[in-house]
Amino acid sequence: MREELSLILALALGGAGAGRAETHVEAIGDPVRGAEIWVYCSGCHEIGPGAQASIGPPLTGLFGRRAATVAGFPYSLSMQRAGQDGLTWTLETLDAYLENPVVLVSGTRMSFPGLEDAGERADLLAFLRQYSDKPSNIPEAAPTARAGDPVLSEATLALVGDPAYGEYLSSECTTCHQRDGSDQGIPSITLWPQRKFVLAMHAYKQHLRPHPVMQMMAGRLSDEEIAALAAYFGALGL
């Protein structure tokens, strides 16, 4: 069954249109192992039917897509420029991007250091490839959810933050996190969907997420203050 899911990549050896191209097919990688690597991505990206923009853009239909073209998603200026310059997501460009994101798109807000292991990248690409057009024999999958999200009451999630208060509170964040979202060792927190921001901060506050600095910072923020920060960082004009 899983075997059937393995994706194939047709590598045409020999020039296009050559009279008799020798065709050789091999799997990109193992999508089952790729699904395990996907947990590093699923905190920020959704994939599958109905996937929505989250901290990162949805990755359904990624292959063959021009960079920075999901309508309404607030891409970094670098990513927009790369898309305008013609960057299209293919096996090769995605492999380069996943190996070291800032080498391909220097100002990306994607807070991911890259996958050094070419085999792991291949497995992840095989996983991602299932959610783009062709091959058609791939079963649909629901968007994955990140484990470890805190349980929050609807009242907490529904709090409307005061962005002016958030702006003041944000000065404590911007000692480390850069306001424009660039990531030089500390992740971007700019332009996250507010719900994601609130969930992440409460996950630190409840010590579900492990980072000690963030546990301390979130630990003394009230629900209203977290909502205020989410409102401010979620609507920053860059």
């Binding site: 404590e172 000692t175 660039s182 301390m216």
Partner: protein, 421 residues
């Protein structure tokens, strides 16, 4: 031509005055003068200018045109950063935020007249003053040492030419020589700094001069992140580093720069490089203005960073008595944001929120072996009090230490953007 131009300008001014409401005539924007362009002063200038949208005239007085950060200057000593990477200028504070950056030295503060005198002879009136002068050294703290011998025995506790000099001395040290650090007593700038420096010197010597020794003469019983540093020194630099504490006379130390000797409790030791980090006090101007108390540092109001001595003056950073907060760039940056908000509230009626303070200090022990300590603080009645904190643990795995170091690189990029724009 010039007559026409002048008469045109004159008409324009007269018209402008006639159109203005009487109450506005002669009423200039309120002015904040900030003395010192380091982590405290530059952050305060930037936040006041950024958040007041031009309603406040922000003047920053800083003698240096280039600021070399003390934080990460140890990484320069260790060869992990180049010198240019710790240099910052004030161009963006002027061009992006409209701050009037005056490269001059503040030599006096007349609190009665609310005026700051500059070395150039000018005087600047202020509505609010922010004093962020960093540290100076206590005269006579280490007998035999003063600024006239700082090239024989560098302090390198204000980054810049001193840091370059110390690096050159370490690299030129004779084979098997002794690097000595005379460590400061509390309180001083950057509590883990001397011990990170020792780690970086050891890192250089391990490669270039592996039979060299490092001697720390330390008047303190204990020091910041001690267990982490001692574990790291044992692992990375076994046998290289010796620390003499007060039990063995380190509180009674004297230096002889001419003969390159350090006298510990009466016993002279010959050394090859000597890094003397003397006891510290608030930057000279703070004392001159009467803002410091007998401790040599400046008492402040915990919720606002106002001077306890003059409520029109805020004092920031290493010069202050900041309760449980350490003297660090992170602390100064955190305090500056509280002061900036308070100044805007006083001068333009902006909203003021309760003060929140925080600090994190990262230190590098060897390649990829980073550790950190941090805490959050709030304003209590009598002092800035610690709320919560954390510190790296001994025995952490290599991947976590590497991640901690990489995080410190992100922090450096973040805080320098937050300070200098």
């Amino acid at each position: 031509m010039s007559l026409n131009r002048r008469s045109f300008l004159g008409t324009g001014l007269a018209l402008g005055a006639a159109l203005s409401a009487p109450a506005v005539i002669g009423q200039a924007r309120p002015r904040v003068v900030i003395v010192g362009g380091g982590a405290g002063g530059a952050t305060a200038a930037r936040y006041i200018a950024k958040d007041s949208g031009g309603a406040i005239d922000v003047v920053l007085i800083e003698p240096g045109k280039t600021y070399y950060t003390c934080f990460f200057s140890n990484l320069y000593l260790g060869g992990f950063r180049d010198f240019a990477s710790i240099a910052h200028d004030y161009g963006r504070l002027a061009s992006r935020y409209g701050i009037n950056v005056i490269h001059d030295l503040a030599v006096d503060i007349d609190r009665e007249a609310r005026s700051v005198a500059l070395a150039s002879g000018h005087a600047l009136g202020y509505d609010r003053l922010i004093v962020s002068p960093g540290i100076d050294f206590v005269d006579g703290a280490v007998p035999g040492w003063d600024l006239t011998v700082q090239n024989r025995m560098p302090h390198a506790w204000k980054a810049g030419s001193q840091t370059q000099l110390l690096k050159a001395q370490i690299e030129a040290m004779r084979e098997g020589g002794v690097f000595c650090m005379v460590a400061p007593p509390d309180p001083y700038r950057c509590p883990p700094g001397p011990y990170e420096r020792v780690s970086m010197v050891a890192h250089v010597l391990k490669d270039r001069n592996p039979t060299a020794k490092i001697l720390i003469v330390d008047p303190k019983e204990k020091f910041s992140k001690q267990a982490l540093f001692e574990e790291g020194w044992g692992r990375h630099y076994p046998g290289m580093i010796e620390r003499v504490g007060p039990d063995f006379g380190a509180a009674n130390v004297e230096v002889r720069p001419d003969s390159m000797e350090v006298v510990i409790d009466g016993t002279p030791e010959a050394v090859d490089v000597c890094n003397v980090i003397p006891a510290q006090k608030a930057g000279h101007i703070a004392g001159l203005a009467g803002l410091a108390n007998d401790s040599g540092f400046c008492p402040i109001v915990p919720g606002t960073m106002q001077s306890r001595i003059d409520e029109t003056i805020h004092v920031l950073g290493d010069a202050t008595i900041a309760g449980d907060m350490p003297k660090s760039a992170f602390s100064a940056n955190s305090q500056a944001k509280v002061a900036a908000m308070q100044v805007r509230a006083a001068l333009t009626g902006a909203r003021a929120f309760p003060a929140k303070y925080s600090n994190t200090c990262w230190s590098l022990i060897d390649t990829g072996d980073g550790v950190k300590v941090g805490a959050s603080y709030q304003a209590a009645e009598d002092k800035i009090a610690k709320v919560d904190g954390f510190v790296s643990q001994t025995g952490e795995d290599a991947a976590l230490r590497k991640a901690t170091f990489e995080e410190s690189l992100g922090w450096y990029a973040g805080i320098t953007a937050d300070i200098f724009g």
